[in-house]
Each structure stands twice: as C-alpha cells, then as structure tokens.
Symmetry: C2
Subunit: 393 residues, 2 copies
C-alpha cells in the first residue's frame, strides 16, 4: 500500500477544477434558468396541476422528439417506468431477469415488483455497464432455448429479459447485447434512467430496447421534481403503457370501467411543466456537463493512482456523474479519499453497494462478478452539476 | 316508470344552486388562492424540488397536526399510500382483504399489489360505506378464528384486513367496525382518500385504523398535483413507512445500503409545497363546500324522485363530492339525467362500476351486495368545487 501523497494531490486537482468560492459543492443539483417559473405558474393559474393537462402531452411529445424514440409515456418516477417496461416485455412471476449487480437499487426492485428474480451479471471497465462478451459466454454455459424461450438450466426458470443500465450516463455496448438477446430469445429493456442525452453510435439511448426507462429525479440531468418516462418504438406497447399507468380505465364520458389491474403511475401536470422547461435547456446543460468532465479529465490524468472515466469510443455520454477510478492497489484508500473530499465541502460518494450483497437479493443467481466487485471499491463520484461547467466555460 | 318531469325539475334546481354565468361547471376543480405560488417559487429558487426538502417535512407535520394523527408520511399518491398501509398491516400473498365493492379502483388495486385477494362487502345507504352490521353477520357465518387469525372457511384463506372507504367524504360507522376487527382479529385500514376534513364522532377520519391513506389528487379537497399520505398513530409503523417508501435505504453519509425491497413512493418537495399552501386554506374550503351542499340540499329536497346525500348523524363530512340518489323506481332514468346535466355544462357522473363486476375481480369472494348494486344505479355526483360554495356565500 502506498502512502496518501497521490490522493492528497488528487483532492487538490479535483478542487482546482471546481469554483473556489463555495463552501459546499453538491454532487448534482438541478439548474432552473429557463421557463420553469412561467410553465409552473401557468399550471397554478389555470388550475391544471394534476393528472391531465397540456404539459403532460407536450412533455411526452418533446421527449419522443428529443430521443428519437417514437413514443414516450410520462410516469411518476424512473422506478415506475422500469416496472412497467418489464411488465410489458412479458416478465412474469418466477421469471429471471438479467441485470448488472453494479446498479442502483431501482433496477433490482422493479424486477421484484413483477414477482421475478434478479439474476446478477458482471460489468466491464470500458462502460461500467454489462459486459456483453462475458454474458454471452455465461449464457452459453447455463441456458438452453426451448420452444422460443430461454431457460436457466440450473434453476429451471425462464430468463425473460436483460436490463443493461447506462451507468452515470455512459452507454453500454448495445450491438453485441442485442445480438445476444436475438440469439437467446431474451427481451432487451434499457435502464436509461441516467442517460438522457447520451448516444450509442449516434443514436440516443433508449432506442435499442423493446422498452426503455428514463428518470427525472432531482439529481438527474433534467428534473421534474420526481418523474420518469417509458420509451418505446412499438405503437401498441406505447398505448398499453399509457393505459396501464393510468389505472387501466376505459375511456368513457362518465363511466368508470377498468379492464385489468392497473397502476396510478401518471406524472402530474405541474411536474411535467417543469420537465418541458428543463428539456428546452438540455442541450446547453450537456455542453456544460461535458466541459466540466473535460476539466476534470485534464487535471485528474496528471495524478498517478487514479483514472478518470471517459465515454466509451462508440458513445457520446451526458457525463451525468463524473467518476474517478482508483487503481487496484489503492482501493483501501477509498474511504480516506471520500473523507478528505467531503471534509473540504466537495460532495463525493462511492457507487452503490452491489445488488447481490444486499440481504434481500443475496440468494439469487449470479455469474462471476469480479469486475463489479472491483468497481464497488475503486469508484468515486465527484460533483457534476451543470452550474459547475458554467464556471469552467 | 314515471315520466321525466321530476327529473327535468331536478336539472333546473341543480342548475339554480350553481352560478349561471358559466358555460361549463367541472365536477371538482382545485382552488389556488393562498401561498401556492410563493412556496412553489421558493422550491424553484432554492433548487429543492425533489425528494428531500423542507416542504415535505412541513407537509407531514401539518397533516399530523390537522388530522390529530401522530404521524403522517407523504407519498406520491393515494394508491401508493394504500399499498403501504396494507403491507405494513401485515397483508401477505393469498390473504383476503375485505373492501367495499362500491369504491374507486385504487382500493382493490392496492390489495392486488400485495398479492392478496379483495373480498367484496356491501355498503349501507346511511353512509354509502361498509355496512358493519351486515359484515358482522357475514363474518359470523363464513369465518373461524384460529391461533389469533381469522380464516374464511370457504376458501381456507386468512382474512387479514378490512378497508372501509369514506365515500365522497362521508365517514363510515367506525365504532362497530372496530369492534368487529377486535373480535375477528382483523386489521382496520381506513381508506380516507376522500375524507380529509371529515370527522367521526368529533375525531378526524384516519385516527381509527391501524394505518390510513389520504389522497391529494387534483380532484380532491386539497391537491398536491398528485400525492397522498399514510397516517398512523403507531410510531414504529410510521418509521417503517418512511423507510420503505424511500427505497429502504439505511442512512449513511455516503454508502448505499438497502435492507429490504423498498418503494420509490416519496412525494417531491415541489408537490409538498403546493400541499402546505393548500392545507392552510382547508378550513375555508370546508366552509364553502358545506355551504354548497346546503344549497343543494335545500333545492333538491323539493324534488320528488330523488334524495340528496347528507352526512350521517355521527359525522361531520367534508362533502367532497355531492351526491343525488334516485329513488329505486327511477334508476332507469339515470342516464337520461346524466345526459341532461352534462348537456347543460353541469358535469355529472355516476359512481364507479362495482368492483366485483370488473373482469379482473369477477371471480373473487363476495357477500350479498344488494345495497351496492342499488347505489351503482341510483347515485349521481354533481359539481362540488370549492369555488361554487363561494358563489353561494
């Protein structure tokens, strides 16, 4: 184990990329400098704050246009979006769903809401997301395809879907993943909660899955307070998504009939109003976020013991959360670094505890998770707000 | 069957109780005439729009103070609140939960989210809610209590909870229901989605159940755009409710650990801000709503073929939605009346299709539902917005 000299230098260089006049720098705070007031006030003035209203329709159209996905359905948060994506992809009780162990809890919880079993897969350093080559080898060993469905030979359960997550905005390598899905009859659902504004080979993330999920939580690139969206190019799935997220009520001038068990997942109009204003500014936000990432990259590259996460060669990333990776010999110093940064008011955090280590998921199937285990100890997120990129312009 | 004379008179008298200068009168629209804009603007100006913020805390405190229930936990909507109430009351997969067939779909859906079975009970004319005496007789016939649990002798399943719903704001008769719950070892959950501001024997609804659910949807007495709350006098259940509605994350300065499958049900701060402003005005809203109900009562009482729903003798109701009840011989005229009223721009609707008639619940257990079947055909809701009571002052 080396001494802390390099890490102290790292704290200095991170600090140098940030404005020096602030006592506390948040990890990711929202930026409201557009039409937020105007649109929200319009909701209050007209009384249209709730589940129906013009901003919900507009936000859905704007999202579809921005991402290039044909249909967007606004919902109450990213977790709800994922839940419905899985349900509409046909995930049923006791199915297995492949997800990265290195992800936020929402990915695994959404699988559980379907009564299905998360099956944990490893990540790769290049993207921080699912490793398609490792997954391919793994599936070759443990699965068999029967009558158009993929079965886990060990558990006997059907493997219905795979949910790659575009970690901190960096797209996973989707082409080989899509090939795997085609070969094994597995549905692809993109967890694009972190990747609004991120592109894979020139196309916006969320275009590749049968369905995809976005999040507009307060810490995301744009926010609606709380919110999310389901994206899909499939017209009939889009209609079904709208129906099932709005209590599955059959339209009628007065009668209340519902044709199945639905969900109350609609996004209120007042939150959609915020989303419309935020989306107008997204391109500017991305320029600033990429500028900040570039500042970080330049200074952090000078430090020996760490590397700075840059977008994969096939991607353009929104750099939602900037990430430092400690070299393997230095992982024992992670908490030292976190203490130092946070002590200086530079809010920093490790990534998530791996899903397969949490008590409720500990007994579920998993492949070798060497890379994920490393990432859990190596990675630190550092402040990434849009406003910090403005200072760097 | 009589002719439509009385009904035409009814349309006239309803119309006479409403402002004559409006082309369209909504069923229930929100009223924003307090600090809504100030509080929402504060969220935007400070950047605190999302899942943490002072308005969430304040809204929870204000709700607890207003209702007299020790703890309120703000959530994303009333359906989510009900789901968590049931879960925390111990409702498990394959349990049965007694609910009125005459209710909004959320009551039944929330039971389904727990993997449990709605078991439909009848209502009474006095309250439009569960009939405790009929329920008591029914339970005597079909249940047995073993080892401290109540079992349905016919299905073999445990009956874990009963969820009375305070229909249109009129409280059910809670004392005999509580006695039944004690005798049969059944948990009482109040679906108080419609009854904020309604009192049973001087105490606010939501104080009687082990847990209770409120809703602040756009059509309710007060609104947060979309929102709800869990109420409970049990300190440890309150803590658990907060924990499980916020992804079950264990508090830590940076680590992401979750100790169980949780939910992303928190209310965004911007919606809570709206709630705080609305709650400040609730007392005034209630005065106006009761004034409107009184105007309706006076004129509708003059019409032969109908009655106007008034609060039960033990209750003070918020009169959330005013209701006309057609006499039994006239139920075939319901749709004629709905057409007439809606044609004149007076938005009116029947209550809900009974739950046991919906395809997904059709096979579930139920008692005799004579009164509910009648109510479905007899009842019409008429415009009930706060602003209509202002005109009547």
């Amino acid at each position: 184990m080396r001494d802390s000299g390099d890490l102290d230098k790292l704290v200095k260089v991170v600090s140098s990329a940030l404005p020096g006049d602030q006592k506390f720098i948040a990890l990711h705070e929202p930026r409201f400098c557009g039409n937020e007031w105007e649109y929200v006030k319009e909701c209050l003035d007209t009384g249209w704050v709730s589940s129906v209203g013009k901003f919900v329709d507009r936000f859905e159209q704007d999202l579809a246009e921005y991402t290039g996905v044909n249909n967007a359905i606004a919902v109450v948060n990213g977790t709800a979006a994922l839940h419905i994506c899985l349900k509409l992809a046909g995930v049923e009780q006791n199915d297995e769903v492949l997800i990265p162990s290195f992800t936020f809890i929402a990915t695994a919880n959404a699988v559980s809401y379907c009564g299905a079993i998360p099956h944990f897969a490893d990540s790769e350093m290049r993207t921080l997301g699912l490793d398609p080559f490792k997954l391919s080898n793994y599936l070759r060993d443990i699965t068999e395809v029967k009558r158009g469905h993929c079965y886990n030979k060990i558990t006997g359960r059907r493997i219905k879907a795979v949910v790659p997550m575009h970690t901190f905005g960096h797209p996973v390598d989707l082409d080989p993943l899509m090939e795997i899905c085609a070969n094994y009859h597995i549905e692809l659902i993109e967890d694009a909660a972190e990747s609004l504004g991120s592109y894979y080979k020139g196309q916006h993330t969320g275009n590749f899955g049968k369905l995809s999920a976005l999040s507009f939580n307060g810490n995301k690139v744009i926010t609606t307070g709380g919110g999310g969206a389901i994206l899909t190019n499939d017209e009939s799935l889009a209609k079904f998504a709208k129906h099932i997220t709005t209590t599955a009520k059959i339209p009628h001038k007065w009668a209340f009939n519902h044709d199945q068990i639905g969900f109350n997942y609609r996004l209120p109009n007042i939150n959609a109003a915020l989303g419309c204003a935020q989306l107008e500014q997204l391109e500017q936000f991305l320029i600033k976020k990429r500028a900040l990432a570039d500042s970080y990259r330049k200074v952090i590259t000078e430090v020996d013991c760490v590397s700075f996460m840059v977008e994969p060669e096939f991607a353009k990333s929104n750099y939602w959360l900037n990430a430092i990776l400690l070299n393997k010999p230095d992982i024992t110093k992670r908490d030292y670094l976190l203490e130092k940064l946070n002590d200086q008011g530079i809010m920093s955090r490790p990534a998530w505890t791996l899903m397969h280590k949490l008590p409720m998921f500990a007994e579920y199937p998993k492949m070798d998770l060497t890379i994920a285990e490393g990432l859990e100890m190596q990675l630190i997120n550092i402040p990434s707000s849009v406003v910090l990129g403005e200072t760097n312009e």
